[in-house]
Symmetry: C2
Subunit: 382 residues, 2 copies
């Protein structure tokens, strides 16, 4: 089941040497533009498709008919030629759909700094358009993948409408091949401004609360399209948030090299900003990630990261627990249940809580462990 | 050869289960206080010895007779009991030297959050004092070690004076056992204020330009003592800077898990602050570190880190080179000498330059690669 009014497809056009699917499309069924919103990477070296999609959304005031996505090459650090090719890709898709070029958005994911195999991409657009169908979303999700272990495709229903999200992640998770991409479609109605607000809120508490190595890629993009067939739905924002949260969890679970997924929940911070800063510092710590891989409840590293996070911190007030088993109270080691602790550390998913004892600020960040497989995956691009 | 007026020693007192040396002393030969300066960690969860040493230096206005150092336990996250034990350690050493307790500084290095084996430490102080000798610096350097592969002991001469530095590092390099510590002694004369200024400058361009995993430990401490026997020497600051730079290089070379040492030099930044921010972001990137381990000149990751560093950045102006072999010019791949590039990447030490093309800001940060051995070293504390 998909959001009414959308079609999708995925084909292999030859960008990937393996011959795997590498070109995906999500479009309105009739080719007409609908309200669209996007959140792009904050990286100051945005890939060509990010630059082009951002300009297109500005030109249309927040409308789009389609998103075309290639995997296998990021089209980043490719200069004016890369921008021209991203524009041309949109124009070719627009011609096929019967819409304007600026009503097409474009995403790329793969290696940075390598010219786009443009002839291959262009040759794939006709078959891509021909294959588009309401049941084509799994094919599109497959064609977005780089080093993902499985496609990511989530459907959630509200009353009278659905939101479907497909994604590749990656992101900060498997960044060898760069980036995370996600496309959300809904048959609920929404203005561009409402859709933008809903998407920003959804991203803030899902993809932006996810970290593996702290990298902010050149290509990260999340796009939402609202076809409106089901009429305006005030519950849309909540369902979009659920879809993004679920996609983010799938990304953490599927990150290669990761043997564990962890959540650090910081409570009692002096402010929400401080809580976020502290949680992110812990999540991005190579040492905390190594301890997680080793199933070692070495909470001293968490204290050290909290103390250097920039958040207000009183070492005599902090308490830390793994899977609900307290290991540090008022800043020092406390009596603990070693059996329960070992079980918590051995689990696939580890919940870590750190209460700073200073205020009401709370934040949660999801991350993964650091394993030798992560290094093996990322040490060479070829 | 040592700085005139100082003695040192190192013994095994039983903190380390292995029986290896774990207690070190550096002191004035006559037990009388001399000008002293220190730079401590900025971590808001400073270890007990950091808190005590900072208070002692404030109480004396910048004078000290001795530094006592234990390895094998960080005495961090140990609360009031840890502070009391650090104070008591200073008092016991002071009694033996015939100085006041606040004229003794104390450092600890090892695991965080575990009560200090205080009886063992106290029992070691008498033999430690008895062993002190002008030729005892190598023993002291040995007793400071945690996971270091070799002791770090550097001597540099100025005209008529010397500076000797012993260190353990660690620091951000091999932080399993926490922290970096360094003690500099000189027979040059200096006021406490002059010594403080010289030490801060020396640390800023040595230990603070060194990064492996971005951690700022609970115990990091660098102490300088100036006995003055050689009279006031304006060249002191320069020689201290040389000693710190050499110790920092030894730390990068000796970091376990590291197979390569790299330097990232950022030039052409809009400001020195921007240059430092950009260089540090590259140095702390797990992905850049993985590429370094794999000897892979994947410069796209460097562009991505520069673009997300917070520094002003124009992707169309950046140039990047490995070992002088340019791989990216004006933001895109350029013709390159593949043979020379392969040789540069295969070297033990890799020099990376990134010119941002925006201004005159320059900064250099030294770092290491990320290897499976780093994870093996840090995944479990026991």
């Amino acid at each position: 089941m998909s959001a009414r009014g959308f079609v999708a497809s995925g084909v292999a056009c030859g960008i990937k040497e393996s011959g795997a699917p590498d070109l995906a499309l999500v479009a309105t069924a009739d080719g007409r533009p609908v309200p669209a919103a996007a959140v792009f990477t904050s990286n100051l070296a945005p890939a060509a498709p990010v630059q082009v999609s951002r300009a297109h959304l500005e030109a249309t005031g927040g409308f789009a008919s389609a998103v075309v996505i290639n995997s296998g090459n990021a089209n980043a650090a490719t200069g004016a030629a890369g921008r021209e090719q991203a524009e041309q890709t949109c124009a070719t898709v627009a011609e096929g759909l019967g819409c304007r070029p600026e009503e097409v958005l474009v995403c790329s994911t793969g290696l940075i700094g390598i010219p786009l195999p443009f002839a291959a991409l262009q040759s794939g657009i006709a078959p891509l358009l021909a294959a588009r169908h309401a049941s084509g979303f799994p094919d599109a999700a497959l064609a977005m993948m780089t080093t993902d272990m499985s496609p990511k495709d989530v459907l959630r229903s509200g009353e009278g409408f659905v939101v479907r999200g497909i994604a590749k992640g990656a992101a900060m998770l498997a960044p060898n091949m760069a980036t995370m991409l996600a496309v959300l479609t809904t048959d609920a109605g929404s203005s561009p401004a409402e859709l933008r607000a809903a998407l920003r809120a959804a991203v803030a508490h899902s993809f932006n609360d996810l970290s593996v190595d702290g990298a902010t890629s050149t290509n990260d993009t999340v796009i939402a399209l609202a076809a409106g067939g089901a009429g305006a739905r005030p519950a849309l924002a909540g369902v979009m948030a659920d879809v993004c949260a679920e996609l983010a969890t799938l990304m953490a679970d599927g990150a290669e090299g990761a043997t564990k997924r962890a959540r650090i929940r910081v409570t009692g911070a002096a402010s929400v900003t401080d809580a976020g800063r502290a949680a992110r510092k812990v999540a991005e710590s190579q040492l905390v990630q190594c301890s997680l891989y080793g199933a070692d409840p070495y909470w001293g590293r968490i204290v050290s990261e909290l103390g250097s996070s920039g958040a207000a911190f009183d070492p005599d007030r902090v308490s830390i627990a793994y899977g609900g088993v307290e290991v540090c109270r008022a800043g020092v080691a406390c009596d603990r249940d070693d059996g329960a602790l070992a079980a918590a550390m051995a689990a696939r998913n580890v919940e870590i809580t750190a209460d700073l004892g200073l205020g009401d600020g709370t934040a949660v960040v999801t991350f993964t462990d650091l394993s030798p497989e992560y290094i093996a995956e990322n040490m060479r691009t070829s």
